[in-house]
Structure formats: structure tokens, C-alpha cells
């Protein structure tokens, strides 16, 4: 056998995945890397089901993500489409629950509390159900960068935090809000497409090294998180921003799931 066509079996149907494959390398986490004689490469989550060497056929079976491994998380999104609010305007945010920025409409909420951190001062803010969507409306004079976060206590502890810009041109960095598990932007300066964006994961205020940070964005068509980063020894991880819209960073540790929504103006 020199090279083979690789097929994938999906629900009993075989589908040609790649022609003339001459290299297959099983990777970690059930991934299979393949390369063909034309230099094309693919990685897919699958296992080898059958190899018909005489017929130059390799048949894979797709591994779907087990639904139970997809925990539910909270995330906040602003009720504005251009990345910030204007002074005097009501700061309004929506709270969602789901996975990979896909809302799970079946998922209910346990005990929720919402907080505003403005210039280091913490204050609880109201949250209300608006036609099935949890909303936070902050009707007070704000200017600059403020943090809004939500805590849900139940079977798991969930946090969702975001950085809201009121007014223009606020470039300074932010102090952590002090969550037990928190994703903090390293240098907030209007995150832009085509630039790197760095975050730091803190656990009880200390950098958390070696933890996986999942990253997705609102326009993704991926069923699962398109990016998975690992924090370095300072708890930091960096991502090159390639998509329009808001990004969601998510981390879990010790039964706590914490997200950070990066609000982009574009």
C-alpha cells in the first residue's frame, strides 16, 4: 500500500475525507493527523475503524464530543453593537447560559447575584428577567471602564465577568475584581482584530499556571470551542484575534467555571 483514501463514517454513511493520504499520525485526545501526497493536512477527532490495505482505504469513525463533558457556563454580553456605552446612557447587559456562546434555552439559573466594580468600589446591582432573558441594567452615572460580574451558586459555582467601557478612549489596565477564579485582561487597550490579546488567570488572586483556557467568538460555526490555550507559569495566555464580534474566554478549576467576555467594537 503506497497511499490510501481516507473515509469517515458518519451515522452509517461513508464520506471521502481525504485522497491519497501517505501519512497518518494518531495524536493525543483522540485526534488523528493526516497528510496526503499533495501536501494537504488535516486533523480530525476520530478513531480508525478499519484499514482495507488491498483497496487502499482507511475508514475512520468520528468521535463526537460527549455532551456530559460540555459543562454549562455563564457569560455576559452588552446590549450595544458598537463595543461601548456613552456617558448618560443606561449600561445594559444580558446574561446567558450555555456552551461555546451557544445559549442553552433549557438551562435554568440557580441563585444569581450581579455586581458592579467601579473604581475599586463593589456594589450589588439589580438583575431582572426580561422575556426569558436575564438582564442587568445599571442606571447610574458612569464614565470610564467598569467591571460587571455575575455569580451563580448551585451544583457548580459559576462566574461571568466583563469589562464595560463608558465613554471613549479609556486605555488603562484594570485591577482584578477578586473572584475566586478570574480571567483578567492584561493590558486593556481596545482589542482589535489582527492583534494579540493577552489574559491572565488568577485563582484566589494568584496566577494559575498550566490551566486550559477555552476561547470562542460570537460568529463561530464550530460546535466546540475553536481555541484552547494553556496558561504559562505566570498564568498568562495569548490569542491572535481573527474574528469579528465579541470573544469569550472560559476557564474551569475545582468546580468553579469562570468566563470573561471581551467586548469588541468590531
Amino acid at each position: 500500500m503506497c497511499e490510501a483514501n481516507v473515509y469517515i463514517n458518519r451515522s452509517g454513511q461513508e464520506e471521502l475525507l481525504m485522497e491519497s493520504v501517505d501519512r497518518i499520525v494518531p495524536g493525543e485526545d483522540h485526534s488523528i493527523f493526516m497528510e496526503n501526497i499533495f501536501g494537504e493536512r488535516r486533523v480530525i477527532k476520530a478513531r480508525i475503524r478499519e484499514m482495507e490495505l488491498v483497496h487502499h482505504r482507511i475508514i475512520l469513525e468520528e468521535i463526537r464530543e460527549a455532551s456530559e463533558s460540555r459543562h454549562l457556563e455563564l457569560w455576559l454580553e452588552p446590549d450595544t453593537n458598537h463595543g461601548h456605552f456613552h456617558p448618560g446612557e443606561e449600561v445594559s447587559l444580558k446574561l446567558h447560559k450555555g456552551y461555546n456562546m451557544c445559549i442553552d434555552s433549557e438551562a435554568g439559573f440557580s441563585v444569581l447575584q450581579a455586581f458592579l466594580v467601579n473604581e475599586g468600589v463593589l456594589e450589588e446591582v439589580d438583575m431582572h428577567d426580561h422575556h426569558g432573558t436575564m438582564e442587568i441594567g445599571i442606571n447610574q452615572k458612569l464614565d470610564g471602564l467598569v467591571q460587571v460580574y455575575v455569580r451563580e451558586q448551585g451544583d457548580q459555582e459559576r462566574y461571568a465577568i466583563t469589562l464595560v467601557e463608558v465613554g471613549h478612549h479609556h486605555h488603562h489596565g484594570m485591577k482584578p475584581a477578586g473572584l475566586p477564579l478570574e480571567i483578567v485582561p492584561c493590558d486593556y487597550s481596545h482589542a482589535r482584530l489582527g492583534e494579540n490579546y493577552e489574559i491572565q488567570v488568577l485563582k484566589e488572586g494568584q496566577p494559575l499556571a498550566g490551566v486550559e483556557v477555552r476561547v470562542t467568538y460570537s460568529s463561530t460555526q464550530n460546535r466546540d470551542y475553536p481555541h484552547r490555550l494553556t496558561t504559562d507559569e505566570e498564568g498568562r495566555a495569548k490569542l491572535f484575534l481573527t474574528a469579528r464580534g465579541n470573544y469569550l474566554f472560559s476557564v474551569s478549576d475545582d468546580n468553579i467555571i469562570s468566563t470573561f467576555t471581551l467586548i469588541k467594537s468590531f
Binding site: 494537504e40 468520528e62 458598537h82 482589535r192 482584530l193 489582527g194 491572535f240 481573527t242 474574528a243
Partner: protein
């Protein structure tokens, strides 16, 4: 719009989507601005001669302000990813040509395959989206000289675009720019009616 959009966002907004061709055009436009030390064109201080009509030209229009409508975008249908950007104020021009690669980048080849395929499976949709991200980072992070050749050239600046009188076509009654019409015994005839 509350804030000035950065060049990349301007280009994506104008073009409608993100694709490798547009990103190439963004690199060219940003390089030309820096190299010639010019900002976005207001009224034909800049001029672009493009030898392609691919996606990258939209970045030239959006970022440099050399546009079809203003007349400072000259299209030569050569099918080459070559862009000449010239500044009247500086009396300088730079010609930028995308390097030819014997062995195309496998990620780009695969992306093109998926882009041309009509019915993508879920896996392929994911793969295409991920590939675009990889290519995006590659194009925007790669040193300019690895993707393009460039050189300053002598440039004969044409006159600024002229505004001609509009005359009425004797057959259809519609207005037509005078130099584009022919004149016969019936009067002015527009190209559509000839």
C-alpha cells in the same frame, strides 16, 4: 461611528468579509502608507495602479482612499497581484508585487478547496473557519518582504480626474458624459444605444 476605525476594520467593513486576499491588500496598503509617509487620500493626493481586480483591491480603496469613484484607482487587467501606490505631494511611487511561490502554502491550498466547494459538511465548515484563522495570523504576522517585493519607481502622474459635461442621448434620452458619446446627425448617442 464613535471612534475612528483602524485600517483593517475599514477594509473588512468595506469588503464585507475577511478573506486571505483582502488581508494581502491590507498589508500592501499599510506598507505603502508607512513607506511613503502618507495618510488616507482626501482628494487625489494619492494614486493607485492595480494590476488585479481581486479582493485586495478593496483594501486599497478602503484604507488608502484610492477609489473607483474618485478616479484615483487605475485598474489594469493583467491578473497580477501588483500594486503601484504613488503620492503627488511627495512625488514618489512604490511598486509592490506579491512573490510567486513554487510550493503554495498547504493551508491556503486547502482553504481554497473548501472555499470552492458548494456543500460543506459540519466538519469542513469548522475546518475552513479554523484555517482562515491560521492563515489570517500568518499573513498579518509574516515579515512584509517574505510576501512581497517592492521598489520605488519613477512615475508619470496623470492629470487629476476631470469632470465633463453631461449631454443627452438623442435615442434613449438619458444623460451621458460627453467624451463617452458619439455625435452624428441625430445628435449625441450614448454607448448603450450605439
Amino acid at each position: 461611528m464613535c471612534k475612528n476605525m483602524p485600517p483593517m476594520e475599514l477594509a473588512i467593513q468595506f469588503h464585507g468579509h475577511i478573506c486571505p486576499g483582502l488581508l494581502m491588500g491590507i498589508r500592501v496598503a499599510e506598507f505603502a502608507q508607512k513607506h511613503l509617509d502618507v495618510s488616507q487620500d482626501y482628494d487625489e493626493e494619492l494614486l493607485a495602479v492595480v494590476e488585479t481586480n481581486s479582493c485586495g483591491v478593496d483594501a486599497i480603496q478602503a484604507i488608502l482612499g484610492c477609489t473607483f469613484g474618485k478616479g484615483n484607482l487605475i485598474f489594469k487587467d493583467y491578473g497580477k497581484n501588483v500594486y503601484t501606490i504613488a503620492s503627488r505631494d511627495k512625488n514618489r511611487a512604490v511598486r509592490i508585487a506579491q512573490k510567486f511561490k513554487d510550493r503554495p502554502d498547504p493551508d491556503s491550498v486547502r482553504y481554497r478547496q473548501l472555499n470552492q466547494k458548494a456543500d460543506l459538511t459540519d466538519t469542513e465548515v469548522n475546518e475552513k473557519e479554523n484555517l482562515l484563522g491560521v492563515i489570517f495570523e500568518k499573513i498579518m504576522s509574516m515579515p512584509f518582504e517574505e510576501i512581497f517585493n517592492w521598489q520605488e519607481i519613477e512615475f508619470d502622474f496623470p492629470e487629476k480626474a476631470q469632470i465633463y459635461p453631461t449631454v443627452q442621448c438623442a435615442l434613449c434620452g438619458e444623460g451621458v458624459m460627453e467624451p463617452r458619446a458619439i455625435k452624428n446627425e441625430q445628435g449625441y448617442i450614448c454607448p448603450t444605444c450605439v
